[in-house]
C-alpha cells in the first residue's frame, strides 16, 4: 500500500516556465515532508522541506505548498532551467519515527 504517491511518472516543461510536481499521501500521521532531486548515477540530494504547521515554504526558485486537508503537496520550480532535469522524489515522515517514506518519483525534463 503506497502511502506516498506521485501519480505523474514524467513531466516536460519549457525552459523559463513553471514546473509543478505533485505528491499525495494517505497517512494522516505524516507531519514532515521533503523533496529530493536525483541525477542519474548519483544519490538523491535534499531540495526543500515543509512541516505540517506551515502551508508554504520557499527557497529561491523552489516553493513547496502543503494542503493538509487534501493530503496533497506540490513543488513549484520557477523559472525552470535545463539543469533542473532530474528525478524528483517526495518523502514523508511522522514524529514517531526516523524513517522517510518515498514516492515513486517524477522525471522532470526541462527543454531549452
Amino acid at each position: 500500500d503506497q502511502q506516498v504517491k506521485q501519480n505523474s511518472p514524467s513531466l516536460s516543461v519549457q525552459e523559463g516556465r513553471i514546473s509543478i510536481l505533485n505528491c499525495d499521501y494517505t497517512n494522516s500521521m505524516f507531519d514532515y515532508f521533503l523533496w529530493y532531486k536525483k541525477y542519474p548515477a548519483e544519490g538523491p540530494t535534499f531540495l526543500i522541506s515543509i512541516s505540517s504547521i506551515k502551508d508554504k515554504n520557499e527557497d529561491g526558485r523552489f516553493t513547496v505548498f502543503l494542503n493538509k486537508s487534501a493530503k496533497h503537496l506540490s513543488l513549484h520550480i520557477v523559472p525552470s532551467q535545463p539543469g533542473d532535469s532530474a528525478v524528483y522524489f517526495c518523502a514523508a515522515s511522522s514524529a514517531y519515527g526516523n524513517k522517510l517514506v518515498f514516492g515513486a518519483g517524477t522525471i522532470l525534463r526541462v527543454k531549452s
Partner: protein, 117 residues
C-alpha cells in the same frame, strides 16, 4: 559537508553468491539506512539502524541482512544473491530529528548499481 561513501559504484555478481555492500558516513550520524531504487517503485527501505548493533527491518528486508559494528559504518549483506536483487542500492544517514537543524533530512551516498547474473 556530510559525506556518505559506498564501497563500489558498480558490482556484478553471480546468482547464489554472498554480497557485501559497505557504507561509511563521516558526520557522526546516529541513523543509517539502506534503500533500493527501482524504476516506477521509488526508494524502498530495506533496513535501518539508529545505533551501533541496533537494526530494524524496513519494508522489504527479505533476502537481506545488515551489520552495524561501528557508528560510522553500515553494511548490507545479500546472503545468496538472486536476479531479482539486481537494483540500485542507496545508503543514507541522518541525525535524530530533535538534534537536526533540518529534521528528517537524510544524506545519501552515490549508490551501488548491482547486477546479479
Amino acid at each position: 559537508d556530510v559525506k556518505v561513501t559506498q564501497s563500489s559504484r558498480y558490482l556484478v555478481k553471480r546468482t547464489g553468491e554472498k554480497v557485501f555492500l559497505e557504507c561509511v558516513q563521516d558526520m557522526d550520524h546516529e541513523n543509517m539506512f539502506w534503500y533500493r531504487q527501482d524504476p516506477g517503485l521509488g526508494l524502498r527501505l530495506i533496513y535501518f539502524s539508529y545505533d551501533v548493533k541496533m537494526k530494524e527491518k524496513g519494508d522489504i528486508p527479505e533476502g537481506y541482512s545488515v551489520s552495524r559494528e561501528k557508528k560510522e559504518r553500515f553494511s548490507l549483506i545479500l546472503e545468496s544473491a538472486s536476479t531479482n536483487q539486481t537494483s540500485m542500492y542507496l545508503c543514507a544517514s541522518s541525525l535524530f530529528p530533535e538534534d537536526s537543524p533540518s529534521p528528517y533530512e537524510q544524506y545519501f551516498g552515490p549508490g551501488t548499481r548491482l547486477t546479479v547474473t
